[in-house]
Symmetry: D2
Subunit: 335 residues, 4 copies
Amino acid sequence: MKAVTVRSPGGLDHLQITDREAPGEPGPGEIRVRIHASSLNFHDMSVVTGVIPSEDGRIPMSDGAGVVEAVGEGVREFAVGDAVVSTFLPPWQDGLPHQDNFSAVPGDGVDGYACEQVVRPANWFTHQPSGYTHKESATLTTAGLTAWRALVEDGNLKAGDTVLVLGTGGVSIFALQFARMMGARVIATSSSDDKLERLRELGAEHTINYVTEPKWGKKVKALTNGRGVDQVIEVGGPGTVPQSIDAVRIGGLISLIGVLTGTGGNIPTAKLMIKQARLQGVVVGSRRHQLDMIRAIEASDMRPIIDSTFALEEIAKAFEHEKSGQHFGKICLEY
Amino acid sequence: MKAVTVRSPGGLDHLQITDREAPGEPGPGEIRVRIHASSLNFHDMSVVTGVIPSEDGRIPMSDGAGVVEAVGEGVREFAVGDAVVSTFLPPWQDGLPHQDNFSAVPGDGVDGYACEQVVRPANWFTHQPSGYTHKESATLTTAGLTAWRALVEDGNLKAGDTVLVLGTGGVSIFALQFARMMGARVIATSSSDDKLERLRELGAEHTINYVTEPKWGKKVKALTNGRGVDQVIEVGGPGTVPQSIDAVRIGGLISLIGVLTGTGGNIPTAKLMIKQARLQGVVVGSRRHQLDMIRAIEASDMRPIIDSTFALEEIAKAFEHEKSGQHFGKICLEY
Amino acid sequence: MKAVTVRSPGGLDHLQITDREAPGEPGPGEIRVRIHASSLNFHDMSVVTGVIPSEDGRIPMSDGAGVVEAVGEGVREFAVGDAVVSTFLPPWQDGLPHQDNFSAVPGDGVDGYACEQVVRPANWFTHQPSGYTHKESATLTTAGLTAWRALVEDGNLKAGDTVLVLGTGGVSIFALQFARMMGARVIATSSSDDKLERLRELGAEHTINYVTEPKWGKKVKALTNGRGVDQVIEVGGPGTVPQSIDAVRIGGLISLIGVLTGTGGNIPTAKLMIKQARLQGVVVGSRRHQLDMIRAIEASDMRPIIDSTFALEEIAKAFEHEKSGQHFGKICLEY
Amino acid sequence: MKAVTVRSPGGLDHLQITDREAPGEPGPGEIRVRIHASSLNFHDMSVVTGVIPSEDGRIPMSDGAGVVEAVGEGVREFAVGDAVVSTFLPPWQDGLPHQDNFSAVPGDGVDGYACEQVVRPANWFTHQPSGYTHKESATLTTAGLTAWRALVEDGNLKAGDTVLVLGTGGVSIFALQFARMMGARVIATSSSDDKLERLRELGAEHTINYVTEPKWGKKVKALTNGRGVDQVIEVGGPGTVPQSIDAVRIGGLISLIGVLTGTGGNIPTAKLMIKQARLQGVVVGSRRHQLDMIRAIEASDMRPIIDSTFALEEIAKAFEHEKSGQHFGKICLEY
């Protein structure tokens, strides 16, 4: 079978299309899946470029969607022909998180889905949302679930809440969509007026160009009549957290998801304290969260926003496109 | 001013239209409100018919909506001309419930809103949803807030959940609407196929005629592929709880709101136990819940379903209509 | 190896001591455990007496504690020689409950621990509390965890809360002990003044003889200065729930654990509603709950109260003793 | 009556003992209290030294305990002679926090309790714990409630959890005591081996001298067998948060309470994220939290640790002592 591997020490020029032996029959509790699609995330980028070092020859990509080809003994949840989508943290089935590294994450600590076939424990997958294509489903594993978990599981989102999303990455757009699905309002930022226009089309009530409005925290607060937003989907990290603290309401939630602006930096902790706000670290979610998210998607007509689609062999080109920052929505691989 | 009073021992023929002295100027922290609308609830019916005994001459009706005419010293939340709506349990501003009787409820333990003017502490009211009429707003105090509190505050509703609503009373229809607003699915019951048709128009995915399907609990479970519903808005009481237990999922919530079928009865407690379900008593909600609900309404285009509107003098006729059970949605008074 | 089996249709005279082939080597993810102790619960009684029908030849007893004899491939949590204790619902590792029957419960749907050796998946066990004997540990699987889960996981117990425990069964005594461990007060009932004395020695602040005080609900309320208790460990079922509703505070929790007085009965639902109380079905807990409980036990000097100990061959005699109702605390088997 | 006032711009040499007209009779809903004790907190220090600017002539001190001398119309909760203690944020009675400044805090935005008599709304006070002296009670308003709210209300503390407390300030010692009261373990830090000895006497299981062990975060993690602590009572601020992140478990809570090391600084946000930890701003708590805390205290034998007591006239001396950092436990004023 065809597979992409990352040769050490990583870098887009170290991505290699290889022939790998196809996996055999699934053992007890396992399924074999013909993977048809994946999608690109910041974390995948870190792996393929070597920012996160991984084993030489690692198959990258955490997102994988495809069709069950064979089921092992004792598997009751899936049948041959079922459309399935991967989970980001397979050991985290339900309940409390228990990992603070990526050693069990497909496409990082173990081989991922940039390949045509895998044999994995059945509970590393869930059903796809009914009616979704493989590439739409593939966007859910990382970006979709991160947004869902932050807003709904940690954030207990309810209708009438206001959510602030930063930029137009996958997580932010999903957060916008889930928030709208649940009757919440959205304020969105971007450096591009064109992208802001698209965010408004997707349901953002207010948008802010953070280049022309660098103190967007206070602006957000003003747009909520001084109350502040209930939640911030904070994908920026230390460079944006100070503005997010200005933007959030008393007792509100800032879901700390991203490291786009670095792994640490100056944070006005006294302001966080006096606002009694919560800065909550988030790393995707559990399989149960994914089941809940898919149930929500199926009760709605929400579709992921897909920017563009590449063949598996074009994976380096796909990541170049991601790097360019010109995209709006998810970049997918289809194979 | 004009007011309706309930002469002991109650009964629709004991409702009297009287002239009462208009209230004077509001004291510190108070407002004077010109009430323009109310709406009928099961609890109001119990008061006016004397099922719940109240003081002779009590002004009934817990729901009241109107316009601020005067504000007392220190009131900052409201200004003259503001459209406001009453709260059901004024001492319960926020946090934990602390009352197990109706001694502080307008229209029961204290005078209510079947009159033209009141002077009350400002925090007995909230703003109306922007764009709502007085009679639309009046439906929120009791029926709207009960549904909201059960689903969202106690039930932590999320998109993709399934909610079962029983019948077409005010609380059930509001629950249907709030559930849809938040991306949840709804299954609804009624004894009338015409009403079931209307429930489907409002967004119910499945409907059940409980006359032809007396074991609707198992039917509901089947409609959810054996999973059961996440929440039941249980307005029936002991006569319907056994079916609701069959209908709810493992670990699910049955919000016990109503006494339509009596104040007690035979409950299969072992079934409730083995399902690890939660039977949760609900009495409306706090003022903070009302603020949250109104915020949700304003972020949506939801409108209450109003069946019919009567003048204040027609209050007995309005309750006769309520008794007939022919209505669908709220019955309002406007004055 | 020696094993006890239940011949159809059950009954203490159908308990048979048999010789069974010892289990072989553990497979991947499994461990072999030399079981040394078990303890008796109401649920075990229902199985051995045939009230809950089970497969002919079923090995009963859900509680099992012993020593790891061999570990299969990939098992990292346990080593040979480790003292371990079984879990009641092995598929429920963490998160939400997902079973409403006993098909996966050792000693009911599958073979239990009334035998000398078992091979089971490693995650069907946890470590014993440090310093506990096997029989002390065996009391935790069912009775201990039920009390812990009700009070702490569902009930969010905090210091200063008041807990009402009914009678002197295993769950009730554990609840008393856990409540005291966490700085809560306890009110306890029994029909025996001698047992009430022992409950006071264990830390109950108030005790009530429910024979001489049949309206103990109001008595409990009075003992809390009219506030009511925060939680009731309701092991009685329909015969006691009405008193428990009188006893609980507004917004309080009644954990519905037992069926001692039947599987259904007359419940004053309107009272439950007006009190905004929560009647919560409880069936033991998850493996994660057990890990938390053991962590709590290890941080304290709590020891289970053991009434008496029997040899495996005396299992019928042990259940006769249980039936007599003369015991105080857990009845154990040791072998 | 005697009162202490802070003359602008603050400073210990600007504290003045003055004669003020005694307050008159309490109006409706008010009580007059003869204040007998207060205690010193970091926030009071900031007010009296002018770090937090306040109105010229402000009466400082947020903590106040004394005896009810007179009750106004409609006050039912208190009677003449009752021992009462003040609340830190009077408008926050229950439910969600709603203030991000100190404008309503006695001793900051409004006059405090460094005086002999006050007339205040009754709900600015609660009863003292039964058996407490005035000065013991006075320690609860700020320091006690901050610890309680962080651990119990936000942190949902349970037996078996491990809590890390930093230093020997009032909040940290209360946190140690509340944690022990609820069956939790405590790890404590200090720069003084003598103080560490006293922390162990109070129940700390492990102690760390942070001078000799500047990387105490990893040390704490090691002391918990690599699991990390469930909660950190983080009174240091930016200078200690990085170590606290190392110390906390996956999904754990860091309650951000203090600004001892500054109002902002370099925080390793990526570490917080990957640990899925929660950095939660805390400012004391609500009146309902205080009622709960007092209920907990009354169910235990916990007593505040009081370092020393000064007369009201010695207030500057008391603050000098606080500044010295030599104390262990609370510094009180008695008058």
